[in-house]
Every structure is written in structure tokens, then in C-alpha cells.
């Protein structure tokens, strides 16, 4: 676009008072990085465009394009140069090594690295000042580094599998586009499509950009990836709605054109398109820390605080006790390092992995390891409606005939057994009309599939009718063969009915005219109605009944269709040529038969699951792009709005007073429309989220979903979001845990989510919550167990400093405990079963219910750990005393004991010991101290199995342990006997055969 032209086009834009960001992409691209955060805020706002309101002339002026000839090639080149290609820009990707470093130096790893560094420091100090340095610190440092490296690599591997969001978006983008430039149609690369291009789209194409339609022939587009609504929508050049997302004259980038053709002007490209905004929003969002990461950080703070406190205390203590500076510093380092639970990181990782596997077996595939626990902490679930709560399949829900409403069976497996009087003649007519006046058909070769699950051609309502008739009446195909169709008028949005004329099987000469359509339209055609198979003239009573039934069914959020018929007079008998254009046959005074209403019914397991969430204190919010009435109806049927509660509008209607006079305190349920949400600021949203227990958001845009999630998070809730469409992906990404649908979910949503429900069933979330809560509890047990042994590990060193006794436990033995004997038992605690009904308590409060709190530390360190330390020291004193060093004589012996030149140290009995003899003694003591810890850890392991229940009740079946004990005894007795005989009879037969 030449500068002059650009200025010229500015004028109409100003007239329209719409600063359409025509050149904005240029500036955005330039300052992309600087403005990233600001842009995100920008992206969160609603799509703001007015191109759909412009007349064609204004449009032409705005984009300075000829609406028949398109851009000139030169213009197109220039615009392309200015605005950049029509493609999605990937976010500045973090290099792999940065990600790797994040795993290496984040959270727990940092603690271990610090420990390792201190070890090396202590070793080098030792090396510098003592000729013969103790290598323990070196080993410890190496092991610590190895632990961090291994677990870091493991986490990196886990992490690297996800985060392919942008790639998945790119897969949605078409490759080729048909544009008209210089009056010529040409196939070009989608990247080269520019603003103002004249584009043609036909059935089967993917739309190459956001396009304002200027002409269309029967064009229908599938906007499901944007709005979540699976039904194709027709497109025409007229502006039908204020909201650009709902108006009929705009088709969006990357959606599918299902049928027909359309021609239009490109109004935005690449990242500026609605889809592009969602893509950049999704990939640009930074996720907060997972709750478990927060907990682990909190835990690290606690542990570090304890370690530093102990270290510094003993640093000064050792100075007061008269140690040198150097010694004191080495002690300080030693104490800090001894406090680091080396094995814990690995334990936690393994526990989470195990749970992730268990959840995968229950159809919850966890992509991000830390997300395993998140579901357990969840306090709010924002659920999409279509496909998650509902079956995503239109199904007949109610019928109205003979002035009665009958309920149809909507469950997935047809198990409720609801029925209605099929013997009524009215039903016979109704079924015939529904089956015959119907263009849907089953796809072939599906005889073995249950009717409800068969694939069909045709739109959702017709398919629903087809299946319903097939199930509850007769084979539709057979019926159609016997009653061949002679003529039909297909459904369209202006006449809102569908008519077909059939030959009748019971009277092959006569024709019957059948009609279905919008109930009010149908009623207008009718002059009589059918009651129990008899025709009666239409009267006021009937009309009132009809209105009531229509309102009742419509009020349940159901799509209602009316059915009527007319037996054509005999002059239209077989052979008559019907002309549907000129209507050479009567089409009035029809006989009204009944109404059938359809809905996308909730999944069978959902109400139960929602109830369980309720019991578990989890607030379930419905966020849907669907209409408020439908949304409310589904919300009520699955229990998101419970039966006892009603919205303000309902209560006002019941009490017959205006909404403003209601006492809002007593209202717990609300349905919020997307357009209301648009005008709210964050405080108002917070207010709604806080005040109401049962909330349904309807008609929401992708950005609003995100805003709702952020609102919940702002109130401190841990939010789970379920969704399947591309429109859900920003919310999925932002949520503490995003849950995508495995079967119906789009690729983008799966990439943005942390967890995938393989069976698309909301009920699986409940399983996930249960597992998440369980692993949280079990991690507590695991950590309590692991931390306990820290005290017997560190007190020897402290006593070594204070009492100057020989070192009771060496560094290597500490490592043996932390990375050896403690690891597997700690992991085994991840398998503990829940102690109480964990689904009956409230979600944990992330502020107060921490994974590791002072009570856990108090129990592990202050109580059980102390007993363990006592056990170790007792063993230590026993061994030394039995070998000659009585406890009291040990106090203060350290300097002599560790003096390598002193080879005649006297013990309590006057015996004299060489240095090496003493060291052998010391190592014996360390070994036994180690074994003591292992043995007391057995008890600790067993007590850690439960936190509240008695071990005898829940923990284990102790009596089963005793079954094997006699056999152990048998082994002892048998082998002692064998050895006795071998000793008695040297060279005997037994020795030859069994002595090894």
C-alpha cells in the first residue's frame, strides 16, 4: 500500500470512529518482545471490530480494494511487505538449554546444589589445611551432584514431551487459498494472503483468514473450533448481530466451510485474526507454579531454615567450645549438608510418576508430572458443557402429543426404561412424519453398532429424530421404502419448515403431505389437531395447551419441532406431478399432530460426578458458548444448579416481583451471559464468583473463559478447566490444571492441557481428584518418614561437636540411609490407600494446609526422630562400653581419639589402643548406629502408613505376618541340626552332599 493511498484510506476509518488497527501489526511486530506483557492484556480483551457493520462501499473504501477485481498484484505485494505474511508467529521459544537449566537449578535442586557446593568447599578447606583430608565430603558432594543431575534429566525429559501448542495451531491452518487479484482468480499460498484481498471459499475449504462475506450461496461454516458449537452455521452478506463472533457475515481463519460458496474481503490476517489471537494468547500465557511446586518450595524454605538455624547455632557453639574457626566452618557446612534430605527429590518424583501411571489406567492421562496432585487440590472446576457434561449428540428428549408431555430416554445406553403410550394412534402419525419427513440417513455398514452410536448424514436434529424413530418405532429405511417420497421442500431459514409428500403404504393411491418445522410456523398451517387418533378442529383451548407445552419444552433449553400432516384429496392421487416451486397442491388446513423436542443430553455419569465434587467441596462452574437457557437446563439436570436453588430471575418470576426488589442474599445460583460479563470489571466478577455458589456462564468467548479462570485464581482458588475446543485453550493453559478431552478434543486443546481424559467423561475427573488428594496425603506420609531419619543422622555430628565423643555416624552411612534404605520404603508409602473418605472433605486450603507444616516437622524431627536418635546412641554406647570405653570416659575424648600419632590411648579398663584399633572400633559403632536407624525406621515406616486410623484397623494385617514365622524357625532348626551332624561326622555322607 502506497503512503498516499494509506492516507486516503484513513479518512473513512475516522468517519466510522473505529481505529481499526490496520497498520498495527507493523508496530506490534517491531516491539513484540518489549510489549509482550502488554500485548497479552490486549489479547485478553474482546475482539473489537466493526467490519461486519460496514456497507460494502465503506468496506471497499476502507481496504481500498475493488470488490469485484480485488487488489492489484502490486498492491498485494506492498501490503504483504508492510504487514508481513498471513501466518501464526510462534512465541519466542525458550532454548532447550535454558529449559534444561531450569530443571537443573530450580526448587529442590538448588538446595542440593548448594549442599554439593558446600561439600566441595569443605573438602577443599580440608585439603588446604590438613595434609590428610577426609574424603567423605568429596564423595558426598559427588553423590549430591549425581542425584540432582539424574532427577533433573528425568524432569527435563518429562517436560520436553509437552509444549507443542503452536505446532498444533499451525496444523489447523490451510495451505492454499483462492484469491482474486486484478480480476483474475488465482491459487496462492495462504501465507501470501493480505488485508483486503478478495477471497473465495467453497465447501470443504479451510478459511484462509478472517473474511467479511460480500456474497454467499448456501454457505455454511463449521465454527466449532472457535465457539464450541458443532452445528454448521449459514453465512450471508448481511450483518445480523452486534457481536462480530455471532454475526453471519464474517467467517473466521482456519474454520471449515462445510458447504456452499462465499466470497469476501480479508479483514485481518495472521496473528490478528480471531484464531491468531487465541493462538498467541495460549502460547503466550505463562503458567503459574503448580500447587505441588508451591508446596515443595515451602518445604524447602522450612528445611533450609532449620538447617541454617542449626548450622549457625552450632557454629557459634563450637566457637564457644573452643574449636578453631576452620573447624567451626567445616562443622557449619557439615550440619547444613546433613539436613538436606538427599533422597526426597527422587522419592517425590517416583511417587508422582506412579500415581500418574495409576491415573492413566483410570483414563486420566497426565502430561505434566506435577499436575498429578493439582487435581486433588482443586477447589473450583470450570467445565465446558458440550462434550464434557453432555454427550455431544442431539437426542430426542420429550414428546408432546395427545395433550401430554412424555419423556424420552436420553441416557447413553438406553437404560432408564422411560416409555410412553406407543399404542396411541397419534404416536403412529407422529412417528411416521418424523421418519419420513426427514433427510437424515444412517451411513452404511453399521448394523452391529447400537442405534444411538451410529453415524448419520444430515443435521443434528434430523439425525436425532431418525435414531429416535429407529429405536422406538420401526426401521426407518423400511418405512421409507414402503412410503416413497414424491416431492419435498427442504428446510431453510426463511420458511422454517420442511415438507414432503409420500405415497402411503396402506393406500398406495393416496398421497400424504407431511410437514415439520418451527412449532409456531407449523401451528399457523393447521386448522385441526389430532387427539388419540381423532381429528378435532383447532380451538382456543388447544392453542393454549400448545403454547404451554411449547414454553415448557423450550424452557428446558430444548429445540422444539412441530409436526403436522394433510391427507391430500383424491385429485392428487398417484401420478400427480407435484411442483414445489409453484405449489400446485394445497398446503393449508393441516392437522397438527404433536411436538418433539431435542437436546444434547447430559452424560449419565455426570450428575453423580457433580454431586461427588459438591461433597468434596469443589465448586463446579459451567462455562459454555451455548445459549443461557440451554446452559441452565443442562446445569440443572446435572446438578450444577441444584434443585433447591433458583436464579434471581426465576425467584422474581415465582414471587411475581421485579428482580431489583429481591433479597439477593438468599440467591445462590446465577446465569451470567457473556455480554454482561463483557461489561464487568474484575471486582464485579470477583463479587459474582464469591457470592454465588452455583454459577453458569453462557455465551462466553475464549477470552472471557480466560478471565473467569483468572478471577477464580485471584480469589485463591485452585482452578481446573475442562474443554475440548480451540476456544478453550487459553483457559486450559491458564488454569492450574487444564483438562482436555481425549476423544472429541482438538489437538490444540490437548497440547494446552495438563491432563487428558481419555474417555471424555467428566466422571473421570472425580477419580482424578481422588487420586490427587490421595497422593497429597501419601506424600505427606512419605516425607514424614524420610524426614524422621534426618534427626538420627544429624545428632551424631552435633554430639561429636558438643560432647567431643568419637563420631557415631559417618557421612557415607548417612548416604546409605538417605539414598538406600529409606528410598524404597518411602516410595512404597505412595501406594497407601486412603484413610477416610477423602471425597467427603473440603479441598485443602493452599494457604494453611501445607504439604509440610510445622506439625509434621515437629513430629518427625522433635519426637519420632529423637527416639530414633536415642536408639542409635544407645547402641553406640553399648558397643563402646562392652569393648572398654564407658560412656562417661568418652566425653571429651575426641581430640585424643582422632590423633593418629597417639597409639596407646587408655580406655576405662586401663587397656591401651592403637589408632587403627580405635578406628575399627569407631566404624563398628557407625555400622551399628546405621543398623539401629534402619531398624527403628521399620517402626517408623509402619507408623507412617496411617495418620489417624489404627494400624490394626487400616494399616496392615499384622496376623498375616505370623504365618511365616514358624517356617523361619524351621529353617534355623533344620540348618543348625545339619551343621551339628557335619561337625560330629566329618567327611560323612551329609557333609559330602550338603557342605558348600
Amino acid at each position: 500500500m502506497e503512503p498516499g493511498k494509506e492516507k486516503g484510506t484513513a479518512t473513512p476509518r475516522e468517519q466510522n470512529q473505529s481505529p481499526r488497527p490496520n497498520l498495527k501489526p507493523v508496530t506490534m511486530n517491531k516491539n513484540l518482545r518489549k510489549k509482550k506483557k502488554k500485548d497479552l492484556e490486549e489479547l485478553k480483551k474482546e475482539v473489537d471490530m466493526d467490519d461486519h457493520k460496514l456497507t460494502l462501499d465503506e468496506l471497499s473504501a476502507k481496504y481500498s480494494v475493488d470488490l469485484t477485481r480485488g487488489h492489484s498484484l502490486k498492491d498485494a505485494q506492498e501490503i504483504l511487505f508492510i504487514n508481513g505474511p498471513n501466518s501464526l508467529t510462534p512465541p519466542p521459544s525458550i532454548p532447550n538449554w535454558v529449559k534444561f537449566c531450569k530443571q537443573m537449578f530450580g526448587g529442590f535442586s538448588l538446595l542440593l546444589w548448594t549442599g554439593a557446593f558446600l561439600c566441595f568447599l569443605a573438602y577443599s578447606i580440608n585439603l588446604r589445611y590438613n595434609e590428610k583430608a577426609d574424603k567423605d565430603n568429596l564423595y558426598l558432594g559427588i553423590v549430591l551432584s549425581a542425584v540432582v543431575l539424574i532427577t533433573g534429566c528425568f524432569s527435563y525429559y518429562q517436560e520436553s514431551k509437552s509444549s507443542k501448542i503452536m505446532e498444533s495451531f499451525k496444523n489447523m491452518v490451510p495451505q492454499q487459498a483462492l484469491v482474486i487479484r486484478d480480476g483474475e482468480r488465482m491459487q496462492i499460498n495462504v501465507k501470501d494472503v493480505v488485508l483486503g484481498d478478495l477471497v473465495e471459499v467453497k465447501g470443504g475449504d479451510q478459511v484462509p483468514a478472517d473474511i467479511r462475506v460480500i456474497s454467499a450461496q448456501g454457505c455454511k461454516v463449521d465454527n466449532s473450533s472457535l465457539t464450541g458449537e458443532s452445528e454448521p452455521q449459514s453465512r450471508c452478506p448481511d450483518c445480523t448481530h452486534e457481536n462480530p463472533l455471532e454475526t453471519r457475515n464474517i467467517i473466521f481463519f482456519s474454520t471449515n466451510c462445510v458447504e456452499g460458496t462465499a466470497r469476501g474481503i480479508v479483514i485481518s490476517t495472521g496473528d490478528n485474526t480471531v484464531m491468531g489471537r487465541i493462538a498467541s494468547l495460549t502460547s503466550g500465557l505463562t503458567m503459574g507454579q503448580t500447587p505441588i511446586a508451591v508446596e515443595i518450595e515451602h518445604f524447602i524454605h522450612l528445611i533450609t531454615a532449620v538447617a541454617v538455624f542449626l548450622g549457625v547455632t552450632f557454629f557459634f557453639l563450637s566457637l564457644i567450645l573452643g574449636y578453631g574457626w576452620l573447624d567451626a566452618v567445616i562443622f557449619l557446612i557439615g550440619i547444613i549438608v546433613a539436613n538436606v534430605p538427599e533422597g526426597l527429590l527422587a522419592t517425590v518424583t517416583v511417587c508422582l510418576t506412579l500415581t500418574a501411571k495409576r491415573m492413566a489406567r483410570k483414563n486420566c492421562l497426565v502430561k505434566n508430572l506435577e499436575a498429578v496432585e493439582t487435581l486433588g487440590s482443586t477447589s473450583t472446576i470450570c467445565s465446558d458443557k458440550t462434550g464434557t457434561l453432555t454427550q455431544n449428540r442431539m437426542t430426542v428428549a420429550h414428546l408432546w402429543f395427545d395433550k401430554t408431555v412424555y419423556e424420552a430416554d436420553t441416557s447413553e445406553e438406553q437404560t432408564t426404561g422411560k416409555t410412553f403410550p406407543k399404542s396411541s394412534d397419534t404416536w403412529f402419525y407422529l412417528a411416521r412424519i418424523a421418519g419420513l419427513c426427514n433427510r437424515a440417513d444412517f451411513k452404511p455398514h453399521q448394523e452391529s453398532v447400537p442405534v444411538a452410536k451410529r453415524a448419520t448424514t444430515g443435521d443434528a436434529s434430523e439425525s436425532a429424530l431418525l435414531k429416535f424413530i429407529e429405536q422406538s418405532y420401526n426401521s426407518v429405511n423400511e418405512m421409507r421404502e414402503k412410503n416413497p417420497k414424491v416431492a419435498e421442500i427442504p428446510f431453510n431459514s426463511t420458511n422454517k419448515y420442511q415438507m414432503s409428500i409420500h405415497l402411503l403404504e396402506d393406500n398406495p393411491q393416496a398421497h400424504m403431505l407431511m410437514m415439520k418445522g418451527a412449532p409456531e410456523k407449523i401451528l399457523d398451517f393447521c386448522t385441526s389437531f389430532m387427539l388419540n387418533g381423532q381429528e378435532f378442529p383447532m380451538d382456543e383451548e388447544m392453542k393454549v395447551d400448545f403454547q404451554n407445552a411449547y414454553l415448557e419444552l423450550g424452557g428446558m433449553g430444548e429445540r422444539v419441532l412441530g409436526f403436522c400432516y394433510l391427507n391430500l384429496p383424491s385429485n392428487f392421487s398417484k401420478g400427480f406431478q407435484f411442483n414445489t416451486d409453484e405449489l400446485n397442491f394445497p398446503m393449508e388446513s393441516l392437522c397438527f399432530v404433536g411436538l418433539i423436542s431435542m437436546i444434547d443430553p447430559p452424560r449419565t455419569a455426570v450428575p453423580d460426578a457433580v454431586g461427588k465434587c459438591r461433597n468434596a467441596g469443589i465448586k463446579v462452574i459451567m462455562v459454555t458458548g451455548d445459549h443461557p437457557i440451554t446452559a441452565k437446563a443442562i446445569a440443572k439436570s446435572v446438578g450444577i444448579i441444584s434443585e433447591a436453588n433458583e436464579t434471581a430471575e426465576e425467584m422474581a418470576a415465582r414471587l411475581n416481583i421485579p428482580v431489583s426488589q429481591l433479597n439477593t442474599k438468599s440467591i445462590k445460583a446465577i446465569v451470567v451471559h457473556g455480554s454482561e460479563l463483557k461489561d464487568m470489571d474484575s471486582n464485579q466478577l470477583d463479587h459474582i464468583l464469591k457470592t454465588y455458589k452455583e454459577i453458569v456462564f453462557a455465551r462466553t468467548s475464549p477470552q472471557q473463559k480466560l478471565i473467569i479462570v483468572e478471577g477464580c485464581q485471584r480469589l485463591g482458588a485452585i482452578v481446573a478447566v475442562t474443554g475440548d475446543g480451540v476456544n478453550d485453550s487459553p483457559a486450559l493453559k491458564k488454569a492450574d490444571i487444564g483438562i482436555a478431552m481425549g476423544i472429541t478434543g482438538s489437538d490444540v486443546s490437548k497440547q494446552a492441557a495438563d491432563m487428558i481424559l481419555l474417555d471424555d467423561n467428566f466422571a473421570s475427573i472425580v477419580t482424578g481428584v481422588e487420586e490427587g488428594r490421595l497422593i497429597f496425603d501419601n506424600l505427606k506420609k512419605s516425607i514424614a518418614y524420610t524426614l524422621t531419619s534426618n534427626i538420627p543422622e544429624i545428632t551424631p555430628f552435633l554430639m561429636f561437636i558438643i560432647l567431643s565423643i568419637p563420631l557415631p555416624l559417618g557421612t557415607i552411612t548417612i548416604l546409605c540411609i538417605d539414598l538406600g534404605t529409606d528410598m524404597v520404603p518411602a516410595i512404597s508409602l505412595a501406594y497407601e490407600s486412603p484413610e477416610s473418605d477423602i471425597m467427603k472433605r473440603l479441598p485443602r486450603n493452599p494457604k494453611t494446609d501445607n504439604l509440610v507444616n510445622h506439625r509434621l516437622i515437629g513430629m518427625a524431627y522433635g519426637q519420632i526422630g529423637m527416639i530414633q536418635a536415642l536408639a542409635g546412641f544407645f547402641t553406640y554406647f553399648v558397643i563402646l562400653a562392652e569393648n572398654g570405653f564407658k560412656p562417661l570416659d568418652l566425653l571429651g575424648i575426641r581430640l585424643y581419639w582422632d590423633d593418629a600419632r597417639l597409639n596407646d590411648l587408655e580406655d576405662s579398663y586401663g587397656q591401651q589402643w592403637t589408632y587403627e584399633q580405635r578406628k575399627v572400633m569407631e566404624f563398628t559403632c557407625q555400622t551399628s548406629f546405621f543398623i539401629s536407624i534402619v531398624i527403628v525406621q521399620w517402626a517408623d515406616l509402619i507408623i507412617c502408613k496411617t495418620r489417624r486410623n489404627s494400624l490394626f484397623k487400616q494399616g496392615m494385617k499384622i496376623n498375616w505376618w505370623f504365618c511365616a514365622i514358624p517356617y523361619s524357625a524351621l529353617i534355623f532348626i533344620y540348618d543348625e541340626g545339619r551343621k551339628l551332624i557335619i561337625r560330629r561326622r566329618p567327611g560323612g555322607w551329609l557333609e559330602k552332599e550338603t557342605y558348600y
Binding site: 477447589s379 572398654g884 586401663g910 587397656q911 591401651q912
Partner: protein, 351 residues
């Protein structure tokens, strides 16, 4: 207690209620309004009055804290200040005017807990002392076979001295003199008995009976006794070194064959030493000094010594000397321990 309260109250609350703003960056403008509402909400709830009050008070306080911080409005560092505040409040609660008020009970509990732990370990140690004999160690395997040590010993096994400079060897002489005070003939004669040589001095009888000790007189060491030559030969470049075997309760050298001492050059020319005089001349530890009965009953026991008089060592060069015990039941080649049954030292005598 807290948990119970919460669950009892919870149904009356919208779930989001209990959560507080964490992110200090985003100041919640209508916080005050929320609080009022919450107060009203709470008023409607029926609970046990006493407990409820306590809880509310606590909550109110927390909120006050937060509000204060919002007033300061500094986004960074608030988290730390808040933590600090919690800690200080924990230590001194100004409203209740109590120190460590919340933890008072737990401190008492911990006091009793640790007191009973102390009682338990005391009891166990007492039981330990009941099971081990004060006279005989339960096990002596670890201290066998006996180690060897020499005198004079001054933190080093390298004997470097210059004959003509007395200050380089004076401390050896002082050390030896001090060591041999306990072996003075008069003292030995007064305290100990002269028992028959060549056989064990076995004293049967009760374990707790005081045992007699055999005399080992300083004069047995002849030229190395320091009686004739008060410088133990150091002034003439012929140093005396005393060797003793570590005491082990109940240790008996193999019968009839006393443990002998023999020294030679460890590495290098065999002739660097040339001649050694041993005192007593047998160069052995007589059997009568065994067994040792432990220091509680065998009070005056004096370890037997063998003195090595290096009369003609090569001067002005370091001579590594290894002295080994020899005898049945003596091990002198343990690789890890260079002081079991042997000792290595170097003589570097300058003239």
C-alpha cells in the same frame, strides 16, 4: 480442633470465601467491603460460641496484618515482611500480651516428652552397666593383638637432634625422666611385690579383690635407666629408646616363651645401626608381668619395658628403624595398622 470447626462451618460459606489474596502485586480494592460481608455472613452461622470467637479473633488479626501491608503498598519485600511479622507475633503476641502464647502448651508437652526420653535412656544405660563387669571388659578382640609404643614420645616418631646442641634433645631427656618416675626403685619396692620370673603372676580370687603388681625397677634398664647417664645417651649420640607393649586386660603371651623385641633397619643398609644393646638383656617382657587385671583392681601395675640403646648408629643421616615384637600369638605384620606388634621410627643424629 481447627479442622473440625472449619468443616462444621463450611457449608454456610461460598467456597471461595476462605481464600485470601496472596499476590501482593494486585491490591484488592474492595477488601474492606468483603470483610464486612464476611462478618455478616459469619453472624448468621450457628456454631459453638466460645470456639467461634477465638477463631474469628484470629482471623481478624490476620486480616489486620494484611491490611496494614496493603497500606504500605510496597509490592516487593512484603512477603518477607509478612513472614517476619508472623515470626515476631509468634514470639510476642501483643494482643494477648503473652510470649509464645500459642506454643505454651506444646512446650510443656515437649518438656515432658524429653524428660521421659531422658528417663528411658538413663534406665537403659543403668541396665547396661548392670550387665557389664567393671573389672573385665566384655570383649577384648578389638584391642588384640597388642600395639607397641615407644618413649620418649613427643608427637613425632622422628628423632632429630644434634648432639652438640643440648636444646635439640633436652626434651627427650625430660620426657624420659618424667616417664620413668613411676619406675623408681624405691617406689616399686614400696608398692609392688617381687614375684618369681619366668611364669605368669596369676592371682586367683574374687574379681573385685585388689591385685598385687610385680616390680619393674628403673634399674633394670641399666645404661638406659638414666641413673648413671642422666642424658640417656643423647649427649653422646647413643640415644636410649624405651619400648612398651599396650596393656590388654587378661592378655597372656604364649606360655614359656616371653615376647621378645628385635630392631633392625627398616629400609636401607642393614649396617646403619651396627649395634643395639637391649635392657633387660633378654630383650623380652617377662611373663611375670602378665596377666593384667584391669585398672580398677590392678592399681599399681607398671607396664614392663624394653630399652634399646643405639650405641653406634650412622650419624648425619635418617635411619629408619623398625622394632618388632616376636613371640607366639604376636602378630607384627598387619598392613593397615603399623603399630600392632611393631613400630617404625627414624633416627637422625647430627654431630
Amino acid at each position: 480442633m481447627r479442622r473440625q470447626l472449619r468443616s462444621r462451618r463450611a457449608p454456610a460459606f461460598p467456597y471461595g470465601y476462605r481464600y485470601r489474596l496472596d499476590d501482593q502485586d494486585e491490591v484488592n480494592q474492595n477488601y474492606l467491603a468483603d470483610e464486612e460481608e464476611e462478618a455478616e455472613e459469619e453472624a448468621q452461622v450457628m456454631t459453638v460460641p466460645g470456639l467461634e470467637e477465638e477463631e474469628e479473633e484470629e482471623e481478624g488479626k490476620e486480616e489486620e496484618e494484611e491490611r496494614e501491608e496493603e497500606g504500605q503498598g510496597q509490592p516487593t519485600g512484603n512477603a518477607w515482611r509478612r513472614k517476619l511479622q508472623i515470626v515476631t507475633e509468634y514470639l510476642w503476641d501483643p494482643e494477648k500480651r503473652m510470649s509464645l502464647a500459642r506454643t505454651g502448651l506444646i512446650l510443656v508437652i515437649y518438656f515432658f516428652f524429653y524428660a521421659s526420653l531422658a528417663a528411658v535412656i538413663t534406665l537403659f544405660l543403668y541396665m547396661l552397666f548392670l550387665t557389664i563387669s567393671p573389672y573385665m571388659p566384655t570383649f577384648t578382640e578389638q584391642v588384640k593383638p597388642p600395639g607397641v609404643m615407644i618413649r620418649p614420645f613427643a608427637h613425632s616418631l622422628n628423632f632429630n637432634f644434634n648432639v652438640s646442641e643440648p636444646e635439640t634433645w633436652q626434651h627427650y631427656v625430660i620426657s624420659l625422666n618424667g616417664f620413668l618416675q613411676g619406675y623408681n626403685d624405691s617406689l616399686q619396692e614400696e608398692m609392688n611385690v617381687d614375684c618369681p620370673p619366668g611364669q605368669y603372676f596369676i592371682q586367683d580370687g574374687d574379681e573385685d579383690e585388689d591385685k598385687k603388681a610385680c616390680q619393674f625397677k628403673r634399674s633394670f634398664l641399666k645404661n638406659c635407666s638414666g641413673l648413671e647417664d642422666p642424658t640417656f645417651g643423647y649427649s653422646t649420640g647413643q640415644p636410649c629408646i624405651l619400648l612398651k607393649m599396650n596393656r590388654i586386660v587378661g592378655f597372656r603371651p604364649e606360655l614359656g616363651d616371653p615376647v621378645k623385641v628385635s630392631c633392625k633397619v627398616q629400609k636401607g643398609d642393614e649396617n646403619d645401626i651396627r649395634s643395639i644393646n637391649y635392657y633387660p638383656e633378654s630383650a623380652s617382657f617377662d611373663l611375670r608381668y602378665y596377666p593384667y587385671y584391669g585398672k580398677l583392681t590392678h592399681v599399681n601395675y607398671t607396664s614392663p619395658l624394653v630399652a634399646m640403646h643405639f650405641t653406634d648408629v650412622v650419624k648425619n643421616q635418617a635411619v629408619p628403624v623398625q622394632c618388632q615384637l616376636k613371640g607366639k600369638g604376636i602378630i607384627n605384620d598387619v598392613i593397615n595398622d603399623r603399630f600392632v606388634g611393631r613400630i617404625v621410627f627414624t633416627l637422625n643424629i647430627e654431630t
